[in-house]
């Protein structure tokens, strides 16, 4: 028994060696399918399936603050200190509610000051996550006070900046010029789930009921731990109640607010999930396409060997032996495909992730063996699925007819022809929705890329600073004015300004405003700018004037609003000179200018009504410097740094970049998704084309004798070509039709998933149809041309 199996294994391998092309093609196609799956499943396992590094993570939820706009639903956003403290205080459903807020800080240890991604946290945050520092200690209640003097480092920060030295504990460093003591280091892999840029350093926020920072300073990522037995819905209900109460108690700042509570995973990966599911769907189809190709190759081979199989059966081979032979054949092929696909997939992943900064994606969390085991399982299942059915059918070969086909030289049977056509139809039908989705995505991305942003990105340097909190409002205004004066005096600079926009998606400052016509306040983007902003950005004002140095602290409050905001605040009226009502205690401001609408967070973020306020009048500590240059903007990076340091050694510019690069990166996620989709789309197209070509040329080859017969009875070569090509065209047409129907169904069922608003264009449909037709036409035409060159009798003899 064992000897027989070995013998069969050897004969399968010998057959591969004799005719290596078919197994090679089959293995390559499976490898492509596997590689796509390896790449996407790795990404999925590192995001959607990522184990969250927290104790009892399923009890942790993410409360957010929502804004009840007039007739418009607003996205949930970060909460403010007031809500955070009150939720914490009043909640019964949660055992803990804590918050984290990103802050740019300047760290000075021994050498030059450096910009650092920091965060202010409420003291119990690490206890909420159930994670303790690996070195030193956690924040104690007495640490979480105003002007706290202690910090905890992330593991990465400890390694990079302090060499992983345990003596770093107790050391004093300077954060924004203030001395702070390092008391602990978080473990490796600790992360704050919902935050894109993980903080390197944690500082206690130090606020309480008695000591509340500016009420409108929102920006806290809030986490809550549900009491045992409490549900997310209960948590949501409770926070909504508390927030509604706050609206009554603090009508000035807390009105029109509500709360939402999300699952931790949902909050962390909800946005990526959509894209990943699309990718997953694509690779699944790509894999099925590869399997269809392999199945069709196998069935072609079985058909070829029909007579031999019949003879084997006649001479005593058992059915099980026939089946086992085929299963061995397919299993070896699928396993080889899995191995090659694994290697290829890792390679693809390395290339794709090379320019992805997200540490979540680049750090493996999956066990080394997960993917190989998964592939092993899939390849076994595939091998059996693909091999078993044809093998079983093979054993049911009607011996007499198989033998009589052999002996009387009948050309291919009806069943074989139908099967071949079915394979082609399936290939095309599966490929079409995939290719349409790809085309739609490319189209959508192209549109995104070509969106006119509304400003000129060329020759603009962007640099971010955090003005030292020791400055008051007047000092900050003076600092900004002096900084711009110094930068504008530098050679190579055309003009310069500051803003509070970060020029990255999803990272924006908002406020709420109203007007005499719109008493209900609405949420708008807030940009605090210095006078030359519109000149530096090349944004021609629609009406009115830009700010001047005269719009200072003591001057009457003025604003510039975007055209869309003007339309909302004063519909059908000239807004110029009218009032904008702002959240108290701010007094109403006069509209002095109307600015064009722009995509200043990148083309992927929808246009938002925007409100520009003079930095010199109302300011904050975050400043983005915008320098319009006459030279390559990055060459001015060092000079701008020196200009900042000439004013304050403790302020460090960070995230310096050319505006054009920022706008390019702003659609980076969409680009990555588009690239991956395009990659898989191309693989699918390749597989479908190879499949159609292979099946068609095989079909033609197995009809050689038939062609000879037709010629003998008077068919002209043109008749023959028309007949063969006609059949190929018919199969592909049926496939295209089925594919189009399938696309409609898929679009109906999963429109949000696949097409995400992108329209299918008839051009793509035609182009895809043309490529698939071309594959079939070439595959059919090339061999049928041969009929012109040889004598019919050869065709009669040659066919089997």
């Amino acid at each position: 028994m064992k000897a027989l199996l070995l013998h069969e294994l050897r004969s399968v391998l010998a057959a591969f060696r004799r005719r290596p092309l078919v197994p090679f093609i089959a293995t390559s196609m499976l490898a492509l399918g596997f590689a796509a799956n390896v790449a996407v499943f790795t990404v999925i396992s590192r995001t959607l399936l990522r184990p969250l590094p927290y104790a009892r993570a399923e009890r942790i939820v993410v409360p957010t603050l929502t804004f009840i706009g007039p007739g418009q639903a607003e996205d949930p956003g970060p909460a403010g200190s007031v809500e955070l403290v009150q939720w914490k205080l009043r909640s019964r459903v949660f055992t803990a509610i804590e918050g984290v807020r990103d802050v740019y800080m300047t760290l000075r240890d021994r050498g030059e000051p450096q910009g650092i991604a920091g965060s202010t946290v409420t003291g119990g945050i690490f206890r909420l996550f159930g994670v303790r520092p690996i070195v030193g200690r956690d924040f104690a209640p007495e640490d979480d006070v105003p002007n706290a003097r202690v910090v905890i480092l992330s593991h990465g920060c400890w390694q990079r900046r302090f060499g992983g030295d345990a003596n770093a504990i107790g050391r004093t460093i300077f954060l924004d010029g203030k001395p702070m003591e390092i008391i602990g280091v978080m473990p490796r892999g600790f992360e704050i789930a919902t935050v894109d840029r993980q903080p390197e350093i944690f500082v206690p926020a130090g606020f309480s009921l008695a000591n509340m920072p500016t009420p409108t300073s929102r920006g806290y990522h809030v986490f809550g731990r549900l009491r045992d037995g409490a549900t997310l819905q209960q948590g949501r209900g409770e926070l909504r109640r508390i927030t509604a109460d706050l609206g009554r108690e603090y009508p000035a700042t807390e009105q029109r607010l509500s709360a939402d509570v999300q699952d931790l995973r949902e909050a962390g990966f909800g946005k990526q999930r959509h894209a990943l599911l699309v990718l997953w769907l694509m690779v699944a189809v790509v894999y099925v396409l590869a399997c269809v190709n392999v199945a069709s190759l196998l069935s072609a081979q079985i058909a070829d060997e029909r007579g031999i199989t019949a003879l084997r059966l006649v001479f005593g081979a058992g059915r099980w032996e026939i089946v086992r032979y085929r299963l061995l054949q397919t299993l070896i092929t699928t396993l080889a495909g899995a191995v090659a696909g694994y290697a290829l997939g890792r390679l693809v992943l390395r290339v794709v992730l090379a320019n992805v900064a997200d540490p979540k994606l680049t750090n493996p969390v999956e066990h080394v063996w997960v993917m190989p085991l998964f592939l092993l399982a899939v390849s076994l299942v595939t091998g059996i699925a693909v091999g078993l059915v044809p093998a079983l059918r093979e054993t049911r070969t009607r011996l007499t007819s198989a033998l009589s086909e052999q002996s009387t030289r009948m050309s291919s049977s009806v069943r074989a022809t139908r099967l071949r056509e079915a394979f082609i139809v399936t290939e095309v039908a599966l490929a079409v929705p995939l290719l349409l989705a790809t085309a739609a995505t490319i189209h959508q991305f192209r549109a995104l890329q070509q969106t006119p942003l509304g400003f000129d990105t060329r020759n603009v340097l962007i640099s971010q600073i955090v003005v030292s909190p020791k400055y008051d409002k007047v000092a900050r205004a003076r600092f900004a004015r002096e900084l711009i004066r110094r930068i504008e005096a530098m050679p190579g600079v055309e003009t310069a300004s500051t803003t509070t926009c970060f020029f990255t998606p999803g990272n924006t400052m908002t406020t709420s405003v109203g007007s005499d016509r719109l008493p209900e306040p609405m949420s708008v983007n807030l940009r605090r700018i210095t006078p030359h902003y519109f000149r530096a950005m090349r944004m021609p004002l629609v009406a009115g004037r830009a700010f001047t140095d005269g719009d200072g602290v003591d001057a009457p409050p003025v604003v510039i609003i975007s055209a869309s905001l003007a339309k909302r605040l004063y519909p059908n009226e000239n807004a110029l000179g009218k009032r904008v009502l702002r959240a108290p205690p701010a007094a109403p401001a006069t509209i002095v200018g109307i600015a064009p609408d722009v995509y200043d967070e990148g083309a992927s973020v929808e246009l938002q009504p925007t409100y520009y306020s003079p930095y010199l009048q109302t300011n904050n500590i975050y400043i983005t410097i915008v320098v319009k240059t006459k030279v390559d903007p990055l060459t001015l990076r060092e000079p701008v740094r020196r200009a900042v340091w000439s004013l304050d050694r403790d302020v460090t510019p960070s995230n310096e970049a050319a505006l054009a690069d920022l706008m390019h990166d702003a659609i980076g996620n969409e680009r990555l998704q588009m690239q991956m989709l395009t990659g898989f789309g191309l693989v699918a197209l390749l597989l479908a084309t190879v499949g159609i070509y292979g099946m068609t040329s095989y079909a033609v080859a197995s009809r050689t004798r038939e062609i000879g017969v037709r010629l003998a009875f008077g068919a002209t070569p043109r008749d023959v070509i028309r007949e063969i090509v006609g059949r190929a065209v018919r199969s592909v047409s049926i496939g295209l039709l089925a594919g189009a129907l399938l696309s409609l169904v898929v679009q109906r069922v999963a429109s949000a998933l696949i097409y995400a608003g992108a329209k299918l264009e008839w051009q793509s449909v035609v182009a895809i149809g043309a490529v698939l037709f071309a594959a079939a036409l070439v595959a059919a035409a090339v061999p049928s041309m041969r009929t012109r060159a040889v004598q019919p009798v050869w065709l009669l003899r040659e066919g089997n």
């Binding site: 037709r710 004598q791 009669l796």
Partner: protein, 234 residues
Amino acid sequence: MPLIELNHVSKIFQTEEVETHVLSGVDLAIERGEYVSIAGPSGCGKSTLLSILGLLDVPTSGEYLFDGRRLDQLSLLELAQIRNQKIGFIFQSFNLIGDLSVAENVALPLLYRRVATADRDAAVAEALYRVGMGHRAKHYPSQLSGGQQQRVAVARAIVGKPPVLLADEPTGNLDSKNGAAVMALIHDLHAGGATICMVTHDPRYAEHADRTVHLFDGNLADRDGVLHGVGSAS
């Protein structure tokens, strides 16, 4: 002028450095309306000769005139037209098309003659009836016995009433009753003026022919076994 005229026709198969001389300098003339039977031992080249006569293959050397026209002067299209309108072929190994039904197989020559569907169906039905296969029109070849397949092949050859019928052992798989029926068909065709050229081993059927030519070692001999370098008229 003979309908079919072979002058010094040779056929050499070149396979893996072995040259097989199948026909060497065959001279043969067949008159319009003649009924010729070809005999000879297995492997002597009967089928090869028939494919050359049927314009399915070309001689290695020598000259073939069909209806007074030299074969090598005809275009592919003209060859196809002659095969379609002038010649009916019964292959030794039937050569039915597996994924066409019996009726579709038989209709093939008429299809390429662009005969209207109704006429075609009638002709097919009649041809099948005459070979006793009328009840099997919708079957596929693999569902038929060897003899039945052969009868379908005969029906396909005669359906268009070709002026020339080339038959390669048309009764090889048939019992005497069916064999006789097929021979009667061929006889009728001949009576209608067609030229018949038939390979057969069966002396009874060879009797039907006006003359029999024998193939030996690639050359023709007459009935008495005397070698003829030049084709023999009766």
